[in-house]
Symmetry: D2
Subunit: 158 residues, 4 copies
Amino acid sequence: MEFTGAGALMMNSQTQRDWTSTVFRARYAETDQMNVVYYANYFVWFEIGRTEFCRQHGFAYRDMEEEDGLCIIVAEARCRYKAPARYDDEIEVRTALGEVRRRVLTFVYEVYRKADDMLLAEGETVHVITDLDGRPRALPEKYRDLLVASAGERAPEP
Amino acid sequence: MEFTGAGALMMNSQTQRDWTSTVFRARYAETDQMNVVYYANYFVWFEIGRTEFCRQHGFAYRDMEEEDGLCIIVAEARCRYKAPARYDDEIEVRTALGEVRRRVLTFVYEVYRKADDMLLAEGETVHVITDLDGRPRALPEKYRDLLVASAGERAPEP
Amino acid sequence: MEFTGAGALMMNSQTQRDWTSTVFRARYAETDQMNVVYYANYFVWFEIGRTEFCRQHGFAYRDMEEEDGLCIIVAEARCRYKAPARYDDEIEVRTALGEVRRRVLTFVYEVYRKADDMLLAEGETVHVITDLDGRPRALPEKYRDLLVASAGERAPEP
Amino acid sequence: MEFTGAGALMMNSQTQRDWTSTVFRARYAETDQMNVVYYANYFVWFEIGRTEFCRQHGFAYRDMEEEDGLCIIVAEARCRYKAPARYDDEIEVRTALGEVRRRVLTFVYEVYRKADDMLLAEGETVHVITDLDGRPRALPEKYRDLLVASAGERAPEP
């Protein structure tokens, strides 16, 4: 997967990816003494994007756990930083499904500064499905369908 | 500003209070763009002090919950800030029991910069004991004894 | 000052206080292993409310610092917890000016769960104005006017 | 780079890498409602490791900025999670220099649970050097020497 920022986003949006968007302001608590948002906080923002992605796809991210006795474990997380976010900036996190395999789920993220639609960061998180004892399990059909569904609905253009 | 802070500490130490001490460095992640440790993080530090206080009194703060089906709820938290903490400062949190009543527990805290033993902040947290359904309950004897015990052991008795 | 929760708010709203409101969702990162929002995070929420209060009163909270060479130091912070906030709850923080004295500024906060307008917490923060060397200074007239202004506009009803 | 955990560490230690170690306890504030340390906090732990690495190599990580008008920007961060950390676990972060190029610095990290020396996570961060206007700059010789020096001192001598 090769990203080239906003351009890549547009191409993706037009072709296969179904991006959801969440907007909020960078908090004072999130800054560090370099006057920018501390780098670990982007992963908190990814979580916000992930939550919103699931909500807009018809289910709560954590329902899987409660209703189906499954855990979604973060197996890997990665962020590439392009430009700093500052206190009180209006931030947009765009989230899309990267890959859905039997036991592995990938989300991708792009973080923008709303004021000028500048790409600040992009990243991905890889998740594996396990039962409550930590054994690998398959992602239930219903969630797979929900995750893929709306992308399908909006996608097909001959 | 009216304080009975460091003076009170000495008096307390000599008479009834049993202070425990925890030392760590201020983290970069804890600073904000004013170049000081963000004010909410002092309450995280209080929690570190509280954990250590219980450990040194012979039990794990959270065992009460797991073993006895009780919850220790934070009912109130308060901090007075005297001087800023900075990145990489060596910080000492001193923790003592404030009050132990049947259903209410109070801890008090003092935060020092190790380099010059400067008092940076002081605060307290008030906790209530409830069962898992949120109904008020009495603090079990064994914890009460442990909390008070070592203070008693070391306190002068005429 | 004696608070009695939502009732007090209504009375205050009707009489003298000018409350501003901010709404957001509780983040997964803000929960702890007790399944509720960690207590220190309410102070982060207060900061969000404070930022919004100033924005709605015509200035950015941090402009004072940059434009006037003044610092607004948090001197004291306090929170009383009434009921827990949970992951993904829609949270409303209502913020009002407590007191404006020459060198001291107090904000008061109420945190509600939007779903049932339940009061989760209330608190206050006390701020002092200093110059860049930490010496006490008076709050400039223009900020005092902005802070008090809109409350005055909406207040007087015989 | 293919990691296989503690084995890889030992091989690395014996051959070229100079690992520094930092030990601390997982904080209650760092847990989330899944009862484990929230994934973003590992990046905070990496920062602690990085700070300690530099301290043990004779300089403060942030001195570069203050003394030389340079910024060290995080360009990329990545973590692979192997097993969860829990509240009050004693955690060891081992940090080593990955690569030092003219304008790019890489640190690698391994996070262990002390109790059984279990590898919990491993990751890396990529940093670029810029001046205060954000233009790429070379890493000054003195820092390069300090970073590489002690590795050399302790490296095997034929």
